[in-house]
């Protein structure tokens, strides 16, 4: 465990994760702004605090909720570009946790933000703005690979694995063999779509059609459980195992979307799995390609600054 956690990583890898997860979260907040905003108008009697707001039994004033939401977006933008990260990093991780917890403190938990909230905590409380950030523009030397950049990434991987394994174990624990070989999954797909229809919400016509074929569901249930518990494979050093699992998990969420119209945008965007890979290399290739396209040369002042802020990637010489 010690050796697994204690791996060096480049500052740019952690920075790439900060940019990806931060940008995803800001886009998510903007896309779901109506839901966050309307939370302020939910009836007071429905208040039931969860998680870090477990003590909540009366709602906050709508102005406080709206201000907190706007502050979350502003902090999210600062987090993503890495401005004043010593403050904005932890602040965004905590404010997002509070804001998203508040939205779920009215009687039912939605499961789209669990993993991203945990990833933000790992990123926000680390030195993830030591590269590819406004803060790092003043740095003269590039940070060297270090465990301080590796441990937060390992923590992100660990919480990803735990959330999937927990879901897999819960299915076997609560549903037993009925979950694996019975009609539980089929009933779940049918009931979820029916409830959406009866509540006047978009539902999946594919899911409704699929429940007519009972034989599909036992193998699908077994596959689901294998994918969830199979998250443990990402703790190995095999890159292939990480790719196979990430693609399988992504496919699983795609099937859930198709059959139940339930969207888990974080895994579906693949950003949830970015911590499993050397994401900085992809980003570096993109930067190189962009430079090649614009034909920028290495001797301009802006290129020197750009190289300094991009982890020392040499500009393409025209």
């Amino acid at each position: 465990m010690s050796n697994w956690m204690w791996r060096s990583a480049p500052a740019t890898r952690l920075a790439a994760l900060r940019v990806l997860v931060g940008a995803y979260t800001v886009v998510f907040l903007l896309a779901r702004s109506a839901s966050f905003w309307q939370t302020a108008d939910l009836p007071a009697w429905q208040t039931e605090g969860v998680g870090v707001l477990w003590f909540l039994d009366t709602p906050w004033s709508p102005d406080v909720v709206h201000l907190l939401f706007l502050a979350t977006i502003a902090l999210g933008a600062a987090f993503t570009v890495g401005i004043g990260f010593r403050f904005t990093g932890p602040a965004f991780a905590l404010v997002f946790l509070v804001m998203s917890t508040y939205r779920l403190s009215f009687g039912h938990v939605i499961h789209t933000e669990h993993l991203v909230a945990l990833h933000l905590l790992a990123l926000g409380f680390s030195q993830s703005a030591d590269a590819w950030s406004f803060d790092s523009r003043r740095r003269r030397a590039e940070p060297i690979d270090h465990v301080r950049y590796g441990i937060p990434i390992r923590a992100m991987i660990l919480v990803t694995v735990i959330t999937y394994v927990l879901a897999g174990v819960a299915k076997v624990r609560h549903g037993g063999m009925d979950w694996l070989v019975g009609d539980v999954l089929r009933n779940q797909v049918a009931y979820d779509n029916l409830r959406k229809e009866l509540l006047g919400s978009p539902h999946s016509p594919i899911g409704g059609w699929t429940v007519r074929f009972a034989w599909i569901f036992p193998p699908a249930a077994v596959l689901t459980t294998v994918v969830e518990i199979g998250a443990l494979a990402t703790l190995t050093s095999s890159k292939r195992a990480r790719w196979v699992w990430a693609v399988a998990a992504w496919g699983f969420h795609l099937v859930v979307l198709a059959l139940m119209a339930i969207s888990f945008p974080y895994p579906l965007s693949f950003v949830a799995y970015a911590c499993l890979f050397d994401v900085e290399r992809g980003a570096e290739r993109l930067i190189q390609a962009a430079r090649r396209r614009t034909g920028r040369t290495s001797d301009s002042k802006s290129d020197k600054l750009s190289a300094a802020t991009s982890g020392g990637i040499p500009p393409i010489k025209g």
Binding site: M1, S2, M5, W6, A34, S35, D41, L42, P43, W45, V50, G51, S100, T101, L104, F106, G107, H108, V109, I110, H111, E113, H114, L115, A117, L118, V147, R148, I151, A155, L158, V159, I162, T163, V165, L166, A167, V169, A170, H174, G175, G176, D178, W179, D183, R186, N187, A190, Y191, L194, R195, K196, E197, L198, L199, G200, S201, W209, V211, R212
Partner: protein
């Protein structure tokens, strides 16, 4: 800070502590509590022994000619999340038989529905049969109803 990271013994202790905290907080606590929460959960809703016939709590509009019109999550709860709307109806039935919610919904509905009734209902269907073409309810309980005033938008 860097010195702490470079000291081999301290490093092992810190790493074990970090690992232990993560596993305990994210892994063991949710399993021990075994309930749905945030950001830690055992996701019990996806793993319960779901049967084909389950109750659905919802709000509908019954027009004077007897037609049932489904309402959207936003019309029911003021929020576009279907799960929040479903939970609101369920909790309002437990809270006061759905009366306050019924009036809230009725006041939000447009003038075109004036004269119709909002009904807070629990319906049971066989979900599998529904998708095989049999859409008759197994049971339907109207908890309360109230007249749409038509002053909403």
């Amino acid at each position: 800070m860097a010195r702490i990271f470079e000291d081999d013994r301290t490093r092992r202790v810190i790493v074990r502590l970090v690992g232990l905290v993560i596993v305990v907080v994210i892994g063991i606590v949710p399993v021990a509590l075994d309930r749905d929460s945030y950001p830690l959960s055992t996701y019990p809703m996806f793993s319960s022994r779901r049967t084909a016939i389950e109750p659905v709590h919802t709000a509908v509009v019954a027009t004077p000619d007897g037609t049932i019109r489904r309402l959207s999550p936003t019309q029911i709860s003021g929020n576009d999340e279907v799960i929040i709307a479903a939970q609101l109806v369920y909790r309002s039935i437990r809270h006061d038989g759905g009366e306050v919610l019924c009036s809230d919904i009725a006041s939000r509905l447009p003038a075109s529905l004036a004269g119709a009734d909002v009904e807070i209902v629990t319906e049971r269907y066989d979900a599998i049969e529904w998708y095989e073409g049999n859409k008759s309810p197994v049971s339907r309980v109207v908890h309360t109803s109230c007249r749409v005033s038509g002053t909403g938008s």
